[in-house]
C-alpha cells in the first residue's frame, strides 16, 4: 500500500490551516479599528440578537424561508449546468428526466407560493 | 388403533367450550355453570372412551392423531399417549367436572363483581391445554401448551384469588414458570438445530448429541420441569400461588398442573437425554430428598391451611422425584402411580380445605379448633383426605409410596432411609393439622359464624365421593392402573434410558 495519493491532501490541509491561522493572527495587527453599533452586532444583517426580541422570544423566520427557497433553486441550477453541457449526448432521455426534475422543484415552489411562503408579512 | 380422534377432541373440545363461555354475558352466571358442567362431563365421557380404547398390553404409544402444522419447521399436531400420559389425561378428565361443581359458589363468594362465565372459561381453557401437554408428542407442540397453560392459570389466581396477595402470587407464579419455560425454549431450539430440524419425539429420541450439548439441553428442560413440579429450590412460588388461588383452582394447580413437571422429566429429560440424565441423577435425587424433608418440616410449621397443603405437595413431589431418578421400573411405576394418587389425594385435600375456608372465611388454623363437633361429616372427609395424604395403608397413595421406597431401596438404601423420614413427618403434619382444626374444645368464635354450622351439602358430597371412592379402590386394587403404567415406564427406562433393573442382590451403584 502506498500513501502517496494522500500526501498532497495532507499538504493542502496543512496549507489551509496555516492560512487560516495566519489570517486570524494578521487581521488585528494590520487592520484599523473603528467600532460602531453595527459592527458590534453578531451579524451585520437580519435579526437583532439583543435585547431579546419582543413577543416572548419569537423572531421572524422570513429570512430563513427566503434562504431555503434560494437554496432549492441554487441546487436546481447546479444540476442544470452539467445537463446543458452534455445535452446532445443525453438526448431525449436526459431531457425528459430534467423536465421531471424541474417539475418536482416546481411542485415545491407551488406549495411555498400557495401557502404564503413568499408573502413578506 | 382406533379411528376415532379421541385425543384431538379431548384437546379441542374444552378449548371450544372456553371460547363459547367467553361470549356469555356477565349476567348469565348460572347458565355458564351448567354449561361448563355438561361440557366437562362430555369431556370426561371421552376420556373414559380413550381409556377403553387404549390397549394395556399393546404398543407403547396409541391413539395417534397427526396433522400438519408448520411444515417449514417440521412442526406437526401429533397427539398420542403412552400409559403414563393416558393416566394423567384420565385424571384431568375426572377432576375437572368435580372442580366445576366445587366452584359452584366460589366466584360469588368473592368481593367485587367478578365475572362467573369468565371463571369457567378459564377453567375449561386450562383443561384443554393441560390435556394438550400430556397428549402432545411433538416437542414444540408440547412447549406451546406448556407455556400457554400459564395464561389461564395466571388469571385464575390473579382475578379470582381470595387473598390480599393474589396479585403478588399470580405474578410470581407467572414469572417463575415463564423463566423455566424460556430455559426450555433455549433447549428446544438447540434440540431442533442439533436434532436435524425436526420436533418429532420419536425421531429425536434416536438422535445422538455430544456430551456437552446433551447436558446443557437436559438442564434447560430440567429447570423448567423442576420449577413446574416444583422441586426444591424452585418451589417458592407454590405456597403463594396455592394459598392465593381459589381452592378449586388450587386443587387443579397442585393435582394436575404440577404433574406436568414430573411427566416432562419422564418423557423428555430421560428419554431424549439418557446420558445426561444419568449424569445428573445424583443431583436430582439430592434435590428431591431435600424437598421431602424441607417440605414436610415447613408444612409442620404452617398456620395457614392452604399453605400447609402446598408444602405437603412439595414433599410429595420429592417422593416422585426419587422414584423417577432411581431408574428402576418398580420405583418408576411407583412414581407414576404416585402422580395419579397425589392428584386424587391432594386434590381432595385442597377441595375439602376449600369447603372449610369458604365456611369460615379464613384459612388460618387458629380460626378453627374443635370444628369436628359442628361439621362431623366434613371433618370425617377431611380426615380421610389427610390419611390419604400421609399414605395410610388402604388408601391409594400407600401403594405408590411403598413402590417408590421399595424400588429406591433396591438401588440406594441411604436415600430410601432418608425418604422414610418423610413419612414420619407426614404423619406429624397431617395429624397435628387435624387435631388443631377439628379436635379439642370448640373454638367459641366458630359458633358465631353461621356457615360453620352447615355440614357437607349434597353438592359437596358429590364432589368428594368419587375421589374418596377411587382412593380407596386403588388402595386395594391398583392393578388396572398399573397395567397401563408399567409397559410405558419399562419402555422409558430400558429402551430410552438403557438401564436394566438391578438383580435382587447386586450392588447397583451409579
Amino acid at each position: 500500500m502506498s500513501l502517496s495519493p494522500y500526501v498532497p491532501i495532507v499538504g493542502l490541509f496543512a496549507l489551509a490551516a496555516a492560512f487560516a491561522l495566519f489570517s486570524v493572527a494578521a487581521a488585528p495587527l494590520t487592520g484599523p479599528r473603528r467600532y460602531n453599533r453595527a459592527k458590534l452586532d453578531a451579524y451585520e444583517c437580519g435579526i437583532e440578537p439583543t435585547p431579546q426580541a419582543a413577543g416572548g422570544g419569537k423572531f421572524p423566520v422570513k429570512f430563513y424561508l427566503t434562504a431555503m427557497l434560494f437554496i432549492v433553486f441554487d441546487i436546481e441550477i447546479i444540476f442544470l449546468y452539467p445537463w446543458a453541457v452534455s445535452f446532445n449526448a443525453l438526448g431525449l432521455f436526459g431531457f425528459v428526466e430534467m423536465v421531471l426534475f424541474i417539475g418536482t422543484v416546481f411542485v415545491a415552489y407551488a406549495y411555498v407560493w400557495r401557502r404564503g411562503g413568499l408573502d413578506w408579512d | 388403533m382406533s379411528k376415532f380422534p379421541f385425543l384431538t377432541l379431548l384437546v379441542t373440545l374444552p378449548l371450544l367450550g372456553a371460547l363459547i363461555l367467553a361470549f356469555f354475558p356477565r349476567s348469565a352466571g348460572e347458565l355458564a355453570k351448567r354449561f361448563a358442567l355438561v361440557w366437562t362431563l362430555v369431556v370426561f365421557a371421552l376420556t373414559v372412551g380413550a381409556w377403553l380404547a387404549f390397549k394395556a398390553g399393546g404398543d407403547r404409544f396409541q391413539l395417534k392423531d397427526d396433522y400438519p402444522w408448520i411444515p417449514q419447521w417440521g412442526v406437526r399436531f401429533t397427539f398420542e399417549v403412552d400409559g403414563i400420559a393416558l393416566v394423567m389425561v384420565a385424571l384431568i378428565g375426572l377432576l375437572v367436572p368435580l372442580i366445576v361443581v366445587a366452584s359452584w359458589k366460589t366466584v360469588e363468594a368473592l368481593d367485587g363483581n367478578r365475572s362467573v362465565p369468565a371463571y369457567f372459561a378459564l377453567l375449561l381453557a386450562l383443561q384443554g391445554m393441560m390435556i394438550g401437554v400430556f397428549a402432545a408428542s411433538d416437542v414444540l407442540l408440547f412447549y406451546v401448551f406448556f407455556e400457554a397453560m400459564l395464561v389461564p392459570m395466571y388469571f385464575l389466581i390473579g382475578s379470582y384469588g381470595s387473598h390480599q396477595r393474589r396479585q403478588y402470587a399470580a405474578v410470581k407464579f407467572f414469572l417463575y414458570s415463564l423463566v423455566g419455560g424460556l430455559f426450555m425454549l433455549a433447549a428446544v431450539i438447540g434440540l431442533w438445530v442439533l436434532g436435524g430440524n425436526t420436533f418429532d419425539w420419536h425421531t429425536l429420541v434416536e438422535a445422538e448429541f455430544t456430551t456437552w450439548a446433551e447436558r446443557w439441553m437436559f438442564l434447560g428442560f430440567f429447570v423448567a420441569f423442576a420449577i413446574k413440579a416444583p422441586f426444591f429450590p424452585f418451589h417458592t412460588w407454590l405456597p403463594d400461588a396455592g394459598s392465593a388461588a381459589p381452592a378449586p383452582a388450587a386443587a387443579l394447580l397442585v393435582a394436575v398442573m404440577d404433574k406436568v413437571g414430573t411427566f416432562g422429566i419422564l418423557r423428555y429429560c430421560l428419554s431424549l437425554f439418557p446420558n445426561a440424565s444419568k449424569y445428573f441423577a445424583p443431583l436430582a435425587i439430592a434435590l428431591a430428598l431435600v424437598g421431602i424433608i424441607y417440605g414436610a418440616l415447613l408444612a409442620v410449621g404452617q398456620n395457614d391451611l392452604k399453605r400447609l397443603v402446598s408444602y405437603t405437595s412439595i414433599a410429595h413431589f420429592g417422593f416422585i422425584g426419587i422414584g423417577i431418578f432411581a431408574f428402576t421400573t418398580q420405583a418408576g411405576s411407583g412414581a407414576v402411580l404416585y402422580m395419579l394418587n397425589h392428584g386424587l389425594a391432594t386434590g381432595l385435600l385442597f377441595l375439602v380445605v376449600g369447603f372449610l375456608v369458604a365456611r369460615r372465611g379464613s384459612a388460618s388454623i387458629k380460626d378453627f379448633g374443635g370444628a369436628g363437633k359442628l361439621v362431623p361429616w366434613l371433618s370425617g372427609v377431611f380426615f380421610i383426605a389427610g390419611m390419604a395424604s400421609l399414605a395410610l395403608p388402604g388408601t391409594s397413595p400407600f401403594v405408590s409410596e411403598f413402590l417408590v421406597l421399595l424400588g429406591v431401596f433396591a438401588v440406594n438404601k441411604t436415600v430410601a432411609v432418608i425418604a422414610t423420614l418423610g413419612i414420619v413427618l407426614a404423619a406429624a403434619y397431617v395429624l397435628w393439622m387435624y387435631q388443631r382444626t377439628m379436635q379439642g374444645t370448640l373454638n367459641p368464635a366458630l359458633n358465631e359464624v353461621p356457615a360453620m354450622k352447615k355440614d357437607l351439602s349434597v353438592r359437596e358430597l358429590a364432589v368428594v365421593a368419587p375421589l374418596i371412592g377411587l382412593i380407596l379402590f386403588l388402595g386395594f386394587y391398583p392393578k388396572p392402573v398399573l397395567d397401563v403404567i408399567n409397559p410405558a415406564v419399562q419402555a422409558t427406562f430400558t429402551q430410552d434410558l438403557g438401564v436394566s433393573d438391578p438383580a435382587p442382590k447386586s450392588e447397583a451403584k451409579k
Binding site: G56 | Q72, W73, V144, L175, L178, V193
Partner: protein, 510 residues
C-alpha cells in the same frame, strides 16, 4: 465525451415511483385544494398510491425476475421485494392510524406546528383540523424506506436514508397535545439523526477509500481480493454501522428512542416502530449480507456485543418505565436486539427469520399503539401507567386485546412473538451464535416483567376515579387494530404462508 445511458427498468422501480409521484401530487393538493377538502383528498390519494405500490410489488414478486437497474443503483431481488411489500402493508396500517379523526376533533396532529407552544394562538388552534402535509410526508418516508431496502450502493442508500429520515423528523414535531414534548422529540431526533447520517457518510467515504467502489458487489470483491490495509475497511464499516444502528435503535445508539417515541404523535410513533424498523434492518441486512459477508469474522464479535447490550439494556430499562409509550420504546430497543441476533447469524435462516420477525413485530406494535391512542381522558392520551389501573374492568374488550399483544411481546406461544423469536433464535444457534441466544432468552425473562406489570395493572387493580375511558375507535383505528391483532394471531398460530413467503424470497442478489 460519450455517455452510456443507464438502462432503467421502470416496472422494477414502479412501487417506489408510484409513491414518489403520489407524494408530489400530495404536496400539490396541499397547495391548491381548499383547506376543508384537503383531508378528504389526501387520505384516498395516499391509500390508492399505497395499494398501487403494493400491487406492483406483488406483480414483481410474481415475475420472479431479479434485476439490477438504474445504472446498478437499485437492485430488485426477493428479499428486497419482501421488505418493500412489508413496508407498504405496514404503511397502510399506519396510514389508518394517521388518518383517524374520530378520537379527537381534527386528528392527532396540530394545525400549525410553528405556533409557539402554550401561546394564545396555540390555544385557539386546539380545535382546528390538523395539518394534511402528514400524508405526503408519510409517502415520501415510505418511498425512501423502500429505496433504502433495495439500494445497491452506499450512496443511493445514503440518499434513501435522508429521504425517509427528514419527513420523520418533521412528523415527530406535529403532535396536537403536549406540543413542547413533541418539539423536543423532533429536535432531538433531528440532531442525533443528522449526527448518525454524518457517521454513515463518513463511513461511505472510508469504504470508498478502501475498495475504490461504493456498490455492494464491488465492495464484496474488494473485501475478498484487495491487498489494501484493512484499517480503512474496519473504520468505514464501524462508522457505517453506527449510522445504521442508530436507525434500528441499538444500544448505545438508542438514547433518542424513548424521548422520540414519547413525544411524537402516537400514530407516528407506531409508524416509526413498525416501518422504520423494517427499513433500517432491511438496509443493515443488505449491507452485512451482500457487501461485508466475507469480513463477518471482523464484525460479528463487536456487533454481537452490541446485540447483547441492546437486549439487556432495553429489557432492564423497560422494567423501570412508568409511561406506556416509553415502555414500548424500550421494548422496541430490546426487540432490535433480537433482530440483530437473527441478523448476525449470517446464514439464510438468519435472513429469512429476521424478515419474518420484522413483519410480526410490526403488526403487533402497530396494534399496541392503536390501543394507546384509544385510552384517553380530557387531556388526550393517558399514557402514564398508573392511569391504566383497572382498565380491564372498564373496557374488557380492549384490555383483552392489549393483554394479548403484551403476551405476544413476551413471546408466549400461539402469538407471533413466539414464532418470530423461535425463528431468529434457531437461526442464531445454527449460525454458531448460541451465546447470543442465551442472552436473548435471559433478557426475554427480564422483559416479561414490564409486560406482565401492564397486564396486572389492567386486570388485577381496582379502577380509580381517574381511570381514563377507552374511546370508541373510528373505522380507521378499528381497522388498524383488527389487522394488527389478527396478524399477531395468524402469524403465531399458522405462520405457514408467511414462512413460505420469506423462504421464496431467497437470498439477496449480489
Amino acid at each position: 465525451m460519450t455517455f452510456k445511458l443507464p438502462a432503467i427498468d421502470y416496472l422494477a422501480l414502479a412501487p417506489m415511483l408510484v409513491l414518489f409521484g403520489a407524494a408530489c401530487a400530495g404536496v400539490l393538493v396541499d397547495a391548491l385544494v381548499p383547506r376543508e377538502w384537503r383531508y378528504h383528498v389526501q387520505v384516498p390519494l395516499s391509500l390508492v398510491a399505497l395499494l398501487a405500490s403494493g400491487g406492483f410489488v406483488v406483480a414483481l414478486a410474481n415475475r420472479k425476475e431479479h434485476v439490477v437497474t438504474a445504472g446498478s443503483a437499485v437492485v430488485i431481488d426477493g428479499p428486497g421485494l419482501f421488505l418493500q411489500g412489508s413496508i407498504v402493508v405496514l404503511g397502510i396500517v399506519a396510514l389508518f392510524l394517521v388518518a383517524e379523526r374520530r378520537l379527537e376533533p381534527g386528528g392527532a396532529f396540530v394545525a400549525q406546528a410553528a405556533v409557539v407552544a402554550g401561546s394564545e394562538a396555540d390555544r385557539k388552534q386546539m380545535r382546528k383540523p390538523g395539518v394534511t402535509e402528514v400524508y405526503p410526508m408519510m409517502l415520501f418516508a415510505l418511498a425512501g424506506m423502500m429505496l433504502f431496502c433495495s439500494a445497491n450502493d452506499l450512496l443511493t442508500m445514503f440518499v434513501a436514508l435522508e429521504v425517509f429520515s427528514l419527513p420523520l423528523y418533521l412528523l415527530c414535531a406535529l403532535a396536537r397535545r403536549r406540543r413542547l414534548l413533541s418539539q423536543e422529540a423532533a429536535v432531538k431526533y433531528f440532531l442525533l439523526g443528522a449526527f448518525a447520517s454524518a457517521f454513515f457518510l463518513y463511513g461511505v467515504a472510508m469504504i470508498y477509500g478502501y475498495a475504490g467502489k461504493v456498490d455492494f458487489r464491488g465492495i464484496n470483491e474488494a473485501v475478498l481480493g484487495s491487498s489494501n490495509s484493512k484499517t480503512l475497511l474496519l473504520i468505514g464499516l464501524a462508522m457505517l454501522a453506527i449510522g445504521l444502528l442508530f436507525k434500528v435503535a441499538a444500544v448505545p445508539f438508542h438514547v433518542w428512542t424513548p424521548d422520540v417515541y414519547q413525544g411524537a404523535p402516537t400514530p407516528i410513533t407506531a409508524f416509526m416502530a413498525a416501518c422504520t424498523k423494517v427499513a433500517a434492518f432491511g438496509g443493515l441486512l443488505r449491507v452485512l449480507y451482500v457487501a461485508f459477508e466475507r469480513s463477518s469474522w471482523d464484525f460479528r464479535p463487536t456487533l454481537g456485543v452490541i446485540a447483547a447490550a441492546t437486549m439487556i439494556v432495553g429489557a432492564v430499562l423497560a422494567v423501570t418505565q412508568t409511561d406506556i409509550k416509553r415502555l414500548l420504546a424500550y421494548s422496541s430497543v430490546a426487540n432490535a436486539g433480537y433482530l440483530l441476533t437473527g441478523t448476525l447469524s449470517m446464514n439464510r435462516d438468519g435472513l429469512k427469520y429476521t424478515m419474518f420477525y420484522l413483519v410480526a413485530y410490526g403488526f403487533t406494535v402497530l396494534a399496541a399503539f392503536a390501543i394507546v391512542m384509544l385510552v384517553r381522558d380530557s387531556d388526550g392520551e393517558a399514557t402514564h401507567l398508573a392511569r391504566w389501573a383497572g382498565l380491564g374492568r372498564r373496557s374488557p374488550v380492549f384490555a383483552s386485546l392489549f393483554t394479548f399483544l403484551m403476551l405476544a411481546f413476551a413471546g408466549i406461544p400461539l402469538t407471533s412473538g413466539f414464532t418470530a423469536k423461535f425463528g431468529v433464535f434457531a437461526a442464531a444457534v445454527g449460525g454458531n451464535m448460541t451465546w447470543l441466544v442465551i442472552i436473548g432468552v435471559l433478557s426475554s425473562m427480564i422483559l416479561a416483567f414490564p409486560y406482565l406489570r401492564v397486564v396486572v395493572l389492567m386486570w388485577l387493580s381496582v379502577p380509580g376515579d381517574d381511570t381514563p375511558t377507552v374511546s370508541v375507535p373510528g373505522a380507521f383505528t378499528a381497522a388498524a387494530l383488527f389487522v394488527g391483532v389478527a396478524m399477531t394471531l395468524v402469524l403465531g398460530v399458522a405462520p405457514n404462508q408467511a414462512l413460505e413467503l420469506v423462504n421464496d424470497a431467497g437470498a439477496f442478489l449480489r
